[in-house]
């Protein structure tokens, strides 16, 4: 494999994705900023005042890491699925498929694009959160590594969704029926210690719970789950999903006749 060629190719995809995110900023950056502002006002400020504290933190402070993570997850996923499916739909994915760049480079380039948008929006939501509450980072390395790994996981998942999608409806099914419910039930707004034991165990099957809690641990220093479990799950998912992406690309599923 020609490493230099693939490096230039990956950089090209990242540049293309970054330009795309900025070009359609009204679709990529503004909506999550507005949505999260509303979350902070309604859940954090209005309802949160009546809730009081959670796990020893002001409710606004408690939900802020979860909301940041939620925006990173949905934007990483959304960027890759819409960009790669769009390229498939119009046909300019062929530009990449006929070129000598490796399947791995195509995947890494798009995943990096998803991570970039996830982090960009996550950063913006963090700034918005600072208007409403005070955030002191308890474990910066944990915070950065968890947000990065989570973003990679959902970018890879978005890539797989795009590979299988045949029409535009297919790229909204997973975010609507899987991603959103799992995020809401992933401990963004509550601690699972508030749930009966049975539902606590059910919640532990939700991978997003680990990401939200590990990220919350990075910022607030508190978590419902073990941080090592979170790292294991995230790395496990990355290996599994990346292998699935490579397999699908090699077989040409959804992209080659």
């Amino acid at each position: 494999m020609n490493v230099a060629l693939n490096l230039v190719a990956v950089t090209t995809i990242i540049r293309k994705e970054f330009i795309r995110v900025l070009r359609i900023w009204i679709q990529t950056i503004v909506p999550p900023a507005i949505t999260m502002t509303l979350y902070f006002i309604i859940f954090g400020n209005l309802i949160g005042r009546r809730i009081g504290t959670m796990e020893g933190f002001d409710y606004m402070q408690y939900i802020a890491p979860g909301l940041i993570m939620m925006s990173v997850i949905t934007n990483s996923y959304g960027n890759v699925v819409s960009s790669f499916f769009g390229a498939k739909f119009i046909g300019h994915v062929d530009e990449m498929l006929i070129s000598p760049m490796s399947n791995g480079a195509i995947i890494i380039g798009h995943v990096a694009g998803g991570v970039l948008r996830g982090l960009l929006v996550g950063g913006l939501v963090t700034v918005i959160a600072l208007f409403f509450t005070r955030l002191e980072v308890a474990h910066p390395l944990v915070m950065v590594s968890i947000v990065l790994l989570s973003s990679i996981v959902f970018s890879l998942a978005g890539f797989i969704n795009a590979v299988f999608a045949k029409k535009f409806d297919d790229i909204s099914i997973v975010p609507t029926f899987v991603l959103t419910p799992l995020t809401y039930l992933g401990g963004v707004f509550y601690s699972i210690s508030m749930l009966p034991e049975f539902w606590q165990n059910v919640s532990k099957a939700n991978p997003i719970l680990y990401m939200v809690n590990a990220f919350r641990y990075g910022i607030l220093g508190t978590s419902d789950i073990s941080i090592m479990h979170a790292y294991t799950i995230l790395i496990g998912f990355i290996v599994l999903l990346f292998s699935a992406c490579v397999f699908l690309m090699r077989r040409g599923v959804g992209i080659r006749e």
Binding site: M1, N2, A4, L5, N6, V8, A9, T11, T12, I13, R15, K16, I19, R20, R23, I24, A87, I90, G91, H92, D94, E95, M96, L97, I98, S99, P100, M101, S102, G252, R256, E257
Partner: protein
Amino acid sequence: MNALTIRNLSKTYDNGNQALKGIDLNVEAGDFYALLGPNGAGKTTAIGIISSLVNKTAGDVEIFGHSIDTELEAAKSCLGLVPQEINLNLWDTVGNIVTNQAGYYGIGGKEARRRVEKYLRALRLWDRRDDISRTLSGGMKRRLMIARALVNEPRLLILDEPTAGVDIEIRRSMWEYLQEINAAGTTIILTTHYLEEAESLCRHIGIIDEGRIIEDTKMSTVLRKLQHEVLILSLANAVCEAPQLDGFNTKMLEDCELEVEKGPERDINDLFKQLDAHNIRVVSLRNKANRLEELFMRLVKNKHSTGHTA
């Protein structure tokens, strides 16, 4: 050395459609090769397999000696493709589209910028480099796809109906440019429904029909196979009746227009000698139909009527 070698290539789609039935094809380096065939004959499938956009069922494909099974990266590095359908990123700028394509081939920085300018200028798109591609006319989009395919300076360029929907002036300028890059050493494979285009540009021809190659030879050889030619002569003076010419069938179309059917045993000099003897002066002469078109129709029709397979 062959630019392209295809051996026993076949493709059966999931729906059971057998698009290619074991074709063999050799295109020499430096050639300008026409791959012709009716719609659905298998041309685009063959091109799809060569460019790794379609998975083959069986057979071998080599591009400049690199097998697409074992040396895919090297094989792809030699190739540029202008597809039949417009598949440009409609929201990206002309300049970005070509720059990105260079990047996918590992060409970045100054060299990418130099090539982008070179090919956009050559295809007369440099002034539109900052425009979004969907704002271009159909002809401009076709030219942009050619610039995109050339930016990696491929040794083998495949053009799948590149001039469809392009006006005659731009089509001719595209022909000139393709002849120029072919003369500079790029092997070109062209599929087209404009047989005049194939006849004027290409030195070799392959005709594919129902997934099989039914003709693969030099353009001059295939044109010699044409048994009869129908010529239209414009005459200097009106003639009331078609002259009787030995070995030629004649028919008056209008007062000053004569149709002459010529068999293979007769030549044009003979025709003019006889017309001179009748005191008929010819101002100009043209073929009634494009010669290649006539031959193409005959080959395809003949195959269908006899059920012959190559």
